[in-house]
């Protein structure tokens, strides 16, 4: 029972972590917290769903199409919503991302309706026996893909020129600009990547949850994950997500009713009060 819950939590935590990763990527580069990340996730999942169920394409091709489309969507959001707002206060930016979230959600509702769908995302759910426990293959897939994605992103940000220029732009926009890095292009790419990560999270989420225009709200739970990991740290986001996922799952069986829903938020507030810089964050003093 305990181990089972931990594994379920681990899988859910990976998804929180992936959504949180989307936040972190955007935050690192542009200092915007994207409140619409969950809704991007929903759109991504629905795109793949449409390709498989209505266009009858094979799953991998559908995944590819969904990723490409989401990349474009991310770039479009950056180009037409956030780029004109550069220099506005952070609050305006946040409200803009909230507006994007609202728009995407109503768009999702208009296109795909308000029903709940079942979508297995090409993964058949068979129990896998490891020693004496039975583990759902869905959970294993989720974990494997998360690990893969982290490795890919790690190499991208540390070993490729495009990745390093993104890192540079996130540390100092003006200096990066003067070094000949196209800051606009970098931001645009970051949004694209972040939207793709969101799509992956959404597609992975659908086998364990249902597909619904409202599923973006699950994305909000990625905030505690990102904060716990220290907003701005890529491994932190994943670790934070996993901690949140497991503790939430355990709270569901060991604590009274209602705790499961808010446990992530309780952790969030505790972290913010005790160690606001999170597990992997760096505390910086403002200079005067």
């Amino acid at each position: 029972m305990f181990i089972q819950q931990v594994i379920n939590g681990l899988a859910m935590g990976c998804i929180y972590g992936l959504v949180a990763l989307g936040f972190v990527l955007i935050y690192k580069a542009t200092e915007i917290i994207n409140f619409g990340q969950g809704d991007l996730m929903m759109i991504g999942a629905f795109l793949a769903f449409t390709c498989v169920n209505f266009l009858h394409l094979p799953f991998l091709l559908s995944l590819l199409i969904a990723l490409v489309l989401m990349g474009f969507l991310g770039k479009i959001i950056d180009r037409f919503v956030l780029r004109p707002l550069v220099g506005e206060p952070a609050f305006a930016m946040v409200m803009a991302t909230i507006a994007i979230g609202i728009l995407l959600r109503s768009l999702g509702g208009m296109i795909w309706g308000y029903d709940t769908y079942k979508f297995s995302a090409g993964i058949t759910d068979v129990p896998v026996r490891i020693g004496s426990w039975a583990v759902s293959s869905v959970n294993l897939w989720i974990m494997a893909i998360t690990v893969l994605l982290i490795i890919v992103l790690y190499f991208f940000f540390n070993k490729t020129k495009a990745g390093v220029s993104m890192e540079a732009a996130s540390q100092n926009q003006l200096a990066a600009y003067l070094m000949g890095i196209g800051v606009k292009k970098v931001f645009s790419n970051i949004w694209g990547i972040s939207a793709m990560v969101a799509a992956v999270a959404g597609i992975l989420l659908t086998p364990i949850q249902f597909l619904n225009y409202n599923m973006g709200f699950i994305g909000l739970k990625a905030f505690p994950a990102a904060v716990l990991g220290g907003f701005g740290s890529i491994p932190g986001a994943i670790v934070g997500g996993i901690i949140i996922g497991i503790s939430e799952s355990l709270a569901g069986i060991y604590l009274p009713r209602g705790f499961k829903e808010v446990f992530a938020w309780v952790i969030l507030i505790l972290v913010l009060m005790i160690r606001p810089e999170g597990l992997f964050g760096i505390h910086q003093k403002k200079r005067v």
């Binding site: 200092e31 707002l85 728009l103 009713r257 808010v262 938020w265």
Partner: protein
């Protein structure tokens, strides 16, 4: 153009700069007092909702617009106020006239608790923390069934004043209107004193504010406390006006809609709070009225309201970040300086974003 000749210091701190302004406001107040006599019940109920929203907007503007602490959890204070009054009058038989201030006070106490993280957090972290509090309080309402009746919600009676019942909307209006007026006046008062300036100072530069001798902890908590008091009062009025409340009235979407209200109206301005409340209350009504005239495939969409909402928000952030109040100021400026207004008078200077990572 009008000029003011300053004769004494008292003149500087008056609420109204010109005598004529007082006249205009008196006319406006009289018009609103007379409104229920000539309006239908539908319009009066809209006015009441606007009034309740104005109180919330004033409170939220104090903490977000003036003090610069973004709160995504005001629906929680609204809920606390609503449930306090509902439970006190419904379950314990307390008079509404005691329950109303009590809901403000309980709201304020919760405000202090929520304000505590504000002492250590800046900007967006605080927004996330307040959002978390919002979720927690929503869940408490759902789970604490003996008091709140959980997801089934609570029914509430309209109050009465001595033998005079306020059951009809038109009568209830005369309860809400004075409270709105008082809220505006009190906030205006607060903002023209040292305390008010201290709030603004915290928004602009915490370091400098501290070196002015402003105790950041006290003022940030105070901002949350006063703001939550306002919102709690509004919540109580809302509960008695709607006669029925449930957890679904107080979700994160409600908090967002409060923020939209002050953003569309104008951050950091009392006028803006009023404009925003009017705009946001009318928006859904306007949409449902216009449904009949739109092509079917748009008009019949269930998500239409949310879509319009998001679109309006985006357009305001992009084209009028100062909100309706900013627009109002520009129009006023145009007429006051008639031939001299140029297109670029209010053009903003673009600056490179200065990184301030935490």
């Amino acid at each position: 153009m009008r000029f003011v000749k300053r004769m004494n210091y008292l003149q500087d701190i008056q609420l109204f700069k010109y005598h004529s302004t007082i006249g205009w406001y008196l006319i406006l107040i009289t018009a609103f007092l007379a409104a229920p006599l000539v309006m239908g019940t539908y319009w009066v109920s809209l006015l009441i909702l606007i009034g309740i929203n104005i109180i919330v907007a004033l409170g939220l503007n104090l903490v977000t617009g003036y003090t610069g602490q973004v709160s995504l959890g005001h629906a929680a204070f609204f809920a606390v106020g609503a449930y306090t009054s509902a439970v006190l009058t419904g379950k314990f038989g307390v008079s509404f006239w005691l329950a109303l201030p009590a809901s403000g006070v309980v709201g304020a106490l919760v405000g202090i608790v929520v304000g505590l993280p504000a002492l250590r957090l800046k900007g967006l972290y605080l927004a996330i923390a307040t959002m978390g509090f919002g979720f927690i309080i929503e869940e408490i309402i759902v789970q604490w069934e003996p008091i709140t009746n959980g997801v089934n919600g609570l029914s509430i009676k309209r109050p009465s004043l001595a033998a005079f019942s306020l059951a009809s909307d038109k009568h209830f209006y005369y309860l809400v209107f004075p409270i709105v007026l008082l809220s505006v006046l009190v906030l205006k008062n607060l903002l023209r004193t040292s305390s008010g300036r201290a709030f603004l100072a915290i928004r602009d530069s915490e370091t400098a504010a501290e070196s002015m001798g402003i105790n950041l902890a006290v003022y940030k908590t105070a901002a949350f406390c006063i703001s939550a008091f306002y919102t709690g009062i509004a919540g109580a009025l809302f509960a008695h006006f709607m006669r029925f409340i449930g957890p679904e009235n107080f979700t994160i979407l409600e908090s967002i809609s409060f923020l939209v209200m002050i953003l569309v109206g104008g951050l950091g301005s009392v006028h803006g709070s009023v404009f925003g409340a009017v705009f946001i209350t009318f928006l859904p009504e306007g949409i449902s009225l216009s449904k009949d005239y739109l092509p079917t495939f748009i008009g019949q969409q269930a998500g239409l309201q949310a879509a319009v909402y998001g679109l309006v928000l985006l357009l305001f952030i992009r084209f009028e970040p100062l909100g309706l109040y900013g627009r109002w100021l520009k129009i006023k400026f145009y007429f006051e300086n008639f031939p001299f207004y140029k297109k670029d008078t209010f053009r903003k200077v673009r600056k490179f974003h200065r990184t301030q990572k935490q």
